[in-house]
């Protein structure tokens, strides 16, 4: 049911599927004492995606950015957990749509800076809890080295 991938085809994700993925991210647990403590930004315009993936080893046609509220400008662990739960929803839903997902919970600093910049989100109010790379999975070629010896 979970299809993690690190390589994606350069094929766009259909809008209908994207809407379902987006909806799946709205149903993560969060403390009842506050409204949903997050903002999901879906980067899908090819120019913006190109700008962003320059700073990451994973390249996918769509990128979900899971921003969560800071608590009085400090990291809120509960909200970070909610953001990661949203990313799991995304991964599970993506697999059901024959898509694959890669979740990064500690992306490189340059990537994070660029994500805040293009999403126009305030760093004093939000943390980037997780990033979801989504697309159709490409066949992954792994280099496997081991010795083969035939005798007889």
């Amino acid at each position: 049911m979970l299809n993690f991938s690190e390589k994606f085809l350069d094929v766009p994700v259909e809008d209908g599927k994207l809407k379902i993925l987006e909806e799946s991210t709205l149903y993560a647990p969060y403390p009842l004492k506050s409204p949903q403590p997050w903002q999901v930004v879906v980067v899908k315009s090819p120019e913006r995606v190109r700008e962003l993936v320059k700073f990451h080893r994973i390249k996918s046609p769509v990128i979900f950015l899971f921003f969560v509220n800071r608590d009085f400008e400090t990291v809120c662990l509960t909200n970070l957990a909610s953001g990661c739960a949203q990313a799991v929803n995304l991964a599970v839903q993506a697999s059901a749509l024959n898509l694959a997902c890669f979740i990064d919970i500690d992306p490189p600093k340059d990537f994070v800076d660029k994500a805040f910049e293009i999403a126009k989100i305030s760093k004093t109010e939000y943390d980037l809890s997780a990033v979801g790379f989504v697309g159709y999975p490409a066949k992954e070629e792994r280099e496997v080295f081991f010795e083969v010896e035939r005798r007889g």
Partner: protein, 197 residues
Amino acid sequence: MVLDFIKQRRTIRKYKRGLIPSEEALEEILSAVRLIYAQYPIPFKLYIVSGRTRLELVPIMRQHYSIFIDLAIIGKAVSEEVRPIFEKLMVEFMKDLGGAPITLIGLTKLYDWKEEKWPDWAIRNWKVSWMIAQAIMLYAKKNGLDTGSFTFASASIEEKILEFLGERDLNIAFVLNLGYGDENPIPKDVEWKVVEI
């Protein structure tokens, strides 16, 4: 269909007594844990507590009403009209923590709760643990089961639970009840907080 069980997953605080989840369902839930853990290896241990052990653990968990304090905070956030129902449910919940047949306890290495700034490794462990918790909750729902997480407002209770489990090096990341729900929580209002760029 997948979206349905993602949407239907709610925190359940009352469980049908005597209805035990099947080994097959448990195994599928554990397969979800393995999938996440394989992607994000961290120090992690999952306790599946049931039967007599759960009965012994419940009095430790509900000491000093630490869970009640957390529930009371949540209670303040519910509307006036449903508050009496919520309060009744809280009192019931406190008797034996919802009467769930199974309680899952996820352990990892964390940092000091009193500290505002956690090191990167501890935040990573925390995040992965909650990815695991969410995967458990979704796979449980997929198998017709319900879950509900609860937290402690007391570090000393956490220490006592760890002592009970015989754990010295790890901390509690999450506690989840697992079983067949015996309540229908009100639907959650969700706001479409998604923007495309």
